[in-house]
């Protein structure tokens, strides 16, 4: 009797521990991450990483990928040049990762990515927007939009949503970012039958834009496109309103900073620009993400958090579609992505390994960046 009882008890233990032992025996899928967790761009790296961790926890809570749990091995680049090459070598040769979440900053992504390319390990960067990044090779992908893409999207937005035909351009000639956006805006505008009625130039860091703005006002434009970063943008907005320019002012993702509103104040109201993700987006996916993120981290997510989340989810999705963890087949599955439903929108990977996805356009209203609409190119 007691023997039977004891045997039963043992059986119970085996039943209880069995799955746990099996789970332990299942080798986790190793995904690497290199990002600026400390240093000058720590904000960027930390917020991206929080999004990645949230995705990781959700994936593992749902049973992992193909029955195997995921682990993310995060390495810090200290926002410093020279570190990325070292940590990517470490992730590949020591940790044997099957895919890598790349740096959000283009400069450091350009340093680490060629090493992964040579080793044939796919890299997906959450927020490196420079066109050169994915040009490194067929293993490098991104889930954010590129600089040229924004120019196209804003031209389309101006034409379709604002019904603008005559546009004035104010371009920072010292910045490749600004020149790139302006060029693609111009192209799309011409295709759509729009007209560039005036084009003025400045050099990043200038303080007085009244001359250029007066000329643009005289040109009678229906809207101004000012692709630049928030520092110059806030002064331009301020001076444009002082000169009595009331037409909408459009910008690039460089506008997205609290400083824009702090400097320009009420003059910023009405300005429109594209963002990678808006916390105001009413789409259920985005709403759900903002809620879960806020609950997990007690913070409101930024655009890069959503991109970090999408990056790991896309990698997991690719592993699922590849049916294995061979880096080569993961790369193939990533390249074949046609409709991945991310929190930043539906993502398709094009032939240049860039994400084709809608951009969220926001408008400044009473000091807040309010979600206006999603624009698909």
């Amino acid at each position: 009797m007691s023997v039977l009882l004891r045997a039963l008890r043992h059986l119970g233990w085996v039943c209880a521990l069995g799955p746990a032992i099996v789970a332990l025996a299942v080798e986790p899928i190793r995904v690497g991450e290199f990002s600026s967790l400390t240093g000058r761009e720590a904000g960027l790296g930390q917020y991206t990483h929080m999004g990645v961790v949230l995705a990781l926890e959700e994936l593992n809570a749902a049973g992992g990928v193909g029955g195997r749990p995921l682990v993310v091995l995060a390495e810090d680049t200290q926002s410093k040049a020279g570190e990325s090459a070292t940590v990517v070598r470490k992730l590949i040769t020591r940790d044997h990762v099957v895919a890598i979440i790349g740096e959000g900053a283009s400069g450091r992504c350009l340093e680490g990515a060629p090493i992964a390319q040579r080793a044939g390990i796919p890299v997906v960067t959450p927020s490196a927007t420079n066109p050169k990044v994915t040009a490194i090779g067929d293993c490098i992908f991104r889930v954010c939009f590129t600089d040229p893409f924004q120019g196209t999207v804003m031209a389309k937005f101006a034409r379709d949503s604002l019904n603008v035909r005559k546009v004035g351009l104010l371009v920072d000639v010292a910045s490749p970012y600004s020149l790139g956006l302006a060029e693609f805006f111009r192209q799309r505008c011409r295709v759509d039958g729009g007209q560039i009625v005036g084009e003025q130039r400045f050099s990043g860091g200038d303080k007085d834009f009244r001359g250029q703005l007066t000329a643009l006002k005289a040109a009678n434009a229906d809207a101004l496109f000012v692709p630049c970063y928030y520092g110059d943008a806030s002064l331009i907005l301020l001076q444009a309103r002082q000169l009595g320019i009331t037409v909408p002012i459009l910008g690039g993702d460089g506008f997205e900073a609290p400083e824009l509103v702090q400097v320009a104040g009420a003059a910023a109201n009405g300005a429109c620009f594209p963002v990678h993700f808006s916390t105001d987006d009413t789409a259920p996916r985005s709403r759900g993400f903002v809620e879960r993120f806020s609950k997990r981290w007690n913070k409101v997510p930024t655009g890069v958090s959503a991109l970090g989340y999408d990056t790991l989810m896309l990698i997991a999705d690719a592993i699922r579609r590849a049916g294995g963890t061979d880096p080569k087949s993961i790369r193939g599955a990533l390249a074949a992505t046609t409709a991945f439903e991310g929190v930043t929108g539906r993502i398709a990977i094009d032939a240049e390994r860039n994400a084709r996805k809608p951009a969220s356009i926001v408008r400044v209203e009473g000091g807040q960046f309010r979600f206006l609409q999603a624009v698909t190119p």
């Binding site: 400390t38 810090d76 200290q78 040049a81 020279g82 020591r94 350009l110 340093e111 060629p114 490749p176």
Partner: protein, 312 residues
């Protein structure tokens, strides 16, 4: 029979050659870290000649490194393919030639900065060299041919153990040999008491410029090695912080001590990597260790009488 110091140099070169031949059995990550340490030794030893032995405070070492890095990278990326030589020839002939030119370009920059500014003393020189480093960075950021702020991509990975440790050995040998020559005693004299040195008939400005130019030369060569190790250059990587990193090695090792500075370069490089397992606490631990070391060994890591500078 060779003199002792030259024997050491020969031994180091042979060791570097042997290690290099065996390097394909090593993990690329370890190799990356070890070569990084080799470059750090070159940088720290060359700065030690300026900051340690000659007593001038330069904060522009990263600037000279940048000049060398971009010079050599431009040479191998633009000239290399045109020569049509085999990869082996490129790595063993074109690459060292580019390193030499990188060193010369940096030395020239050192002369251009040093000649007018080394008449200044102490803090003033620090400010001038700091300014120089920033100018180089901003210039590079605005030069489209070298990729501007986006950076220079696609640099071939020619750097190996032989080149890094060969250069490190030559640097240490030159600095050591220079200081132990009759002429070289003047550097120490300038560091100890400039007025007295001048009174003894030494041309102190000339000594300072010599130290500066020699130091810049090796910083330039180190820059070339760095470029071909990482395969990518970004002007932002040669900012003020990079200079400070090298200065920290010199101060931690003990200003004007050969072995201490080498050990500090190794220690800081290895520490940076071994602390990775501490994750978020890494930078706190790293900084804490620096503070502890500075409090307990303000005179430098190694102060054996054998290696002590023989002035005073």
């Amino acid at each position: 029979m060779l003199p002792k110091s030259q024997l050491w140099l020969l031994l180091a070169l042979v060791a570097a050659g042997v290690a290099s031949a065996l390097s394909r059995f090593l993990d690329p990550y370890i190799l990356d870290v070890v070569m990084g340490v080799g470059i750090a030794i070159t940088l720290a030893s060359s700065l030690n000649l300026i900051n340690g032995f000659t007593g001038q405070f330069s904060l522009g070492h990263a600037g000279f490194m940048a000049v060398g890095a971009y010079t050599s990278a431009m040479l191998t990326t633009t000239l290399g393919p045109k020569l049509g030589a085999s990869p082996v020839l490129l790595q063993w002939a074109v690459f060292p030639a580019s390193l030499l030119l990188a060193g010369l370009a940096a030395a020239l920059a050192g002369l251009a900065v040093g000649a007018p500014s080394l008449r200044l003393k102490g803090d003033y020189l620090a400010i001038v060299t700091l300014g120089f480093g920033e100018i180089i960075k901003v210039l590079l950021q605005n030069m489209d041919v070298v990729g501007g702020a986006r950076g220079l991509v696609g640099i071939p990975d020619y750097t190996n153990l032989f080149w890094t440790f060969g250069v490190a050995a030559v640097t240490v040998y030159v600095v050591w040999g220079l200081l132990n020559s009759t002429y070289g005693r003047g550097f120490l004299a300038v560091a100890d008491d400039e007025v007295a040195a001048e009174a003894m008939g030494l041309n102190t400005t000339r000594y300072k410029i010599t130290a500066f130019v020699v130091g810049s030369f090796f910083a330039g060569v180190a820059g070339g090695l760095y470029a071909h190790l990482k395969g990518y250059l970004n002007p932002g990587g040669f900012d003020f912080n990079k200079s400070i990193e090298i200065v920290v090695m010199v101060i931690l090792g003990g200003m004007g001590r050969h072995v201490g500075v080498i050990v500090a370069a190794i220690l800081l490089g290895v520490l940076n990597e071994t602390l990775r397992s501490f994750g978020d606490y890494r930078m706190i631990l790293y900084s804490l260790l620096l503070i502890i070391l500075m409090l307990t060994r303000p005179q430098g890591l190694f102060t054996w009488p054998l290696w002590k500078k023989k002035a005073t």
